[in-house]
Symmetry: C2
Subunit: 118 residues, 2 copies
């Protein structure tokens, strides 16, 4: 898991416009103007975001006359998930604690909270 791959992937995902573009591309290829349509942003703005996504390997582009259709390339996202998987037990731990707490409260029967906390 090369560090700069994760750098580029996470950095690319840190922008809501770029995440929305990726979400759109799940439904299939799209041209730059199609991708730009939903946003209150100029075309060069979108092109810049696409360049970031492309450099991160999250988007590849074809050729169709003047158009450069964009396609989702999800592979780098797997690396991100793999990195995050190392932390799963840590956020699950919180749920375990919460479960334990709720269990303890429930042990006193329904509405135990009202009786116990004063």
């Amino acid at each position: 898991m090369a560090a700069d791959v994760l750098d580029a992937t996470f950095a690319a995902l840190a922008d809501p416009t770029r995440r929305a573009i990726l979400a759109r591309l799940r439904e299939g290829e799209a041209t730059v103007t199609e991708l730009a349509a939903p946003f209150a942003m100029t075309q060069p703005g979108i092109s810049k975001h696409l360049r970031v996504l492309e450099r991160a390997g999250l988007v590849s582009r074809g050729r169709d006359a003047q158009r450069r259709p964009c396609r989702l390339e999800a592979a780098p996202l797997k690396d991100a998930v793999d990195w995050l998987a190392n932390y799963r037990s840590y956020w699950e731990e919180s749920y375990q604690k919460l479960d334990a707490l709720l269990g303890e409260l429930n042990q006193n029967g329904p509405d135990a909270t009202e009786r116990d906390i004063p």
Copy 2:
């Protein structure tokens, strides 16, 4: 899944120093100086990274005399994983294609590659 939560989380993860800090914190609480030790960086540099992690909710801090021990808060990582989960099928698709390709090659028996590709 508030957008700016994902913004802050992914942005925090986009820096290798910060990812290394989080990795270190999996082994338990650590003070700022302990966290700074492995890095060729000044203490204020590390403190800045910690402030980013704290603002993203990935680190919380206690009090122990002059020390402000840092603790991993993994909850926001779950949101990141949940977002990424929407793409799992897309990167798995690549594996399916690869599997299909390998299967097809294998169908011709071992070493089919050599015979088929000329």
